[in-house]
C-alpha cells in the first residue's frame, strides 16, 4: 500500500522526462535539418539546382527582391537596339527570363503574349530576356550568332510583340541567379518588384501578378 504513491510519482516523473526527451529530440532534429539544408543550399548556390516542391501543389516563390527596387539594366534587343528598364518608368513591367531550350517557357509564352495585349492600354509592358548564352564565352562569336538566331526564330514563331533582349546572364546575379527557368519579376509603376515567379504556374497566376504590378 505504501509503495503505490511512490510508484505513481515515478511513473509521472518518467513520463515527464520522456516528454522532455521527445521535445529535445524534435528540436535537435529540426535544427539538424535546417543546418543540412543551409549547407546544401550554400553548396548548390552556384550550380542552380532544382528544388522540387515536396507537395503536389504549385510552389509559390517569394523573391528577396520583392518590395525592393528592380535592379537597373540595359541590354540589346534582337534588332541591336539598347533597351533599359529605366525606359519603362511609370509602367508596370513583367521581366520574363526564358531560353529557347526551356519547354515550360515555350508553354507560358502565348499566355504572356495574350496578357500583354490585354493590359497594354493600362500601361503594362513585357520585357522578354533570353538567357540563351549561359555557357558561352564573350568572344564566342559563332556561339552568340547561333544563340541570337535561335532567339530570333523563337520570337518569330511565337509572334512575340514585346522587346526581346539578349544576354540575360549578364544581369543574372542582380536578379538572384536565374538558375531555374522560366523566372519572372513583376515591377510596379514605381519601379519596385511587386511579385515574382519561378517555374511554370498558370495564365491566371501570371495575370494576378500583372494586376498586382498595375496596382489593381
Amino acid at each position: 500500500m505504501r509503495f503505490i504513491p511512490l510508484r505513481r510519482n515515478t511513473l509521472v516523473l518518467g513520463a515527464t522526462l520522456l516528454i522532455l526527451a521527445i521535445f529535445a529530440w524534435a528540436g535537435w532534429a529540426n535544427w539538424e535539418y535546417r543546418r543540412q539544408q543551409a549547407e546544401r543550399l550554400l553548396a548548390n548556390a552556384g550550380q542552380g539546382e532544382l528544388v522540387p516542391a515536396a507537395d503536389a501543389g504549385t510552389p509559390q516563390y517569394v523573391s528577396p527582391l520583392e518590395g525592393k527596387a528592380a535592379p537597373a539594366f540595359a541590354l540589346v534587343d534582337l534588332s541591336g537596339k539598347k533597351v533599359s528598364l529605366a525606359d519603362y518608368k511609370g509602367k508596370a513591367v513583367m521581366i520574363n527570363f526564358w531560353a529557347t531550350w526551356c519547354g515550360p517557357c515555350r508553354i507560358e509564352t502565348p499566355w504572356i503574349v495574350e496578357l500583354r495585349q490585354k493590359y497594354a492600354a493600362q500601361g503594362f509592358e513585357v520585357l522578354g530576356i533570353d538567357t540563351e548564352g549561359d555557357d558561352l564565352k564573350p568572344d564566342d562569336k559563332t556561339g552568340w550568332a547561333k544563340a541570337t538566331a535561335a532567339a530570333n526564330k523563337f520570337a518569330t514563331e511565337e509572334k512575340i510583340p514585346y522587346p526581346v533582349l539578349l544576354d540575360g546572364d549578364s544581369i543574372s546575379r542582380d536578379y538572384g541567379g536565374l538558375d531555374n527557368l522560366p523566372t519572372s519579376l513583376f515591377v510596379d509603376r514605381k519601379g519596385l518588384v511587386a511579385a515574382a515567379q519561378v517555374g511554370l504556374t498558370s495564365e491566371q497566376d501570371i495575370e494576378s501578378k500583372i494586376r498586382k504590378a498595375l496596382g489593381e
Binding site: 529540426n30 546544401r40 532544382l50 507537395d55 529557347t100 519547354g103
Partner: protein, 162 residues
C-alpha cells in the same frame, strides 16, 4: 486528476511529434546533380580495336533530360563525347530511345526524355596502356515546371588498352 495528467502528457507528446513531422513533410529535395555517372570506373579493351563499353547514368528523381533525339529543334539533345588527347577516342555511341512524355499543363506537346537510369553504348578505341579518360555528357534537365541551364557532366574512367 490522474486522467487529466495523462491526457496532457499524451497531447504534449503528439504535439512534439507533429511539429517534427510537419517540418519533415515540407522538406524540399535538393539535388546535388541532375545526372550522375554510375559506372564503369574501369574498363579493359583490346588496344587499337573498337570495344563496346556500356556507360550507365542516373537522372535524379523528379527530373528528366532530353533524349539524344528530342522532338523539338530548340531542345538540347543528350550527347556523350570524349575530347581529343585522352588516350582513347569515341568511335560511335548508341543512345537509348527516349521515353515519350507530356507535361501535365500541356498534354499536346510530346517530349522524348530519359528518366531514372539509362545506358549509352559507347564504342571506344584506346591505345595500349593505362589511360585516365575524361568523357563528357552534355545534357539539359527539367522537371514538369522548370528547367535548368545545359550542363556538362565529367565521365571519368580508367581505360586499360591491352
Amino acid at each position: 486528476m490522474k486522467n487529466q495528467v495523462w491526457i496532457a502528457i499524451a497531447m504534449l507528446s503528439l504535439g512534439a511529434l507533429a511539429t517534427h513531422g510537419q517540418s519533415a513533410q515540407k522538406r524540399p529535395l535538393v539535388k546535388a546533380d541532375s545526372v550522375t555517372f554510375l559506372f564503369p570506373e574501369q574498363v579493359t579493351v583490346s588496344a587499337g580495336k573498337p570495344s563496346q563499353v556500356e556507360l550507365r547514368f542516373r537522372v535524379a528523381p523528379g527530373l528528366h533530360i532530353n533524349s539524344h533525339t528530342p522532338m523539338d529543334e530548340f531542345l538540347i539533345p543528350t550527347v556523350f563525347s570524349i575530347p581529343e588527347g585522352s588516350g582513347a577516342r569515341l568511335e560511335s555511341a548508341t543512345y537509348p530511345a527516349g521515353i515519350v512524355i507530356a507535361l501535365p499543363v500541356d498534354p499536346t506537346t510530346k517530349l522524348s526524355v530519359y528518366t531514372g537510369e539509362f545506358i549509352i553504348e559507347a564504342r571506344i578505341v584506346a591505345t595500349a596502356g593505362n589511360h585516365r579518360v575524361q568523357g563528357q555528357l552534355h545534357y539539359q534537365a527539367c522537371d514538369n515546371n522548370e528547367c535548368l541551364p545545359p550542363k556538362t557532366l565529367n565521365v571519368t574512367m580508367d581505360v586499360i588498352g591491352k
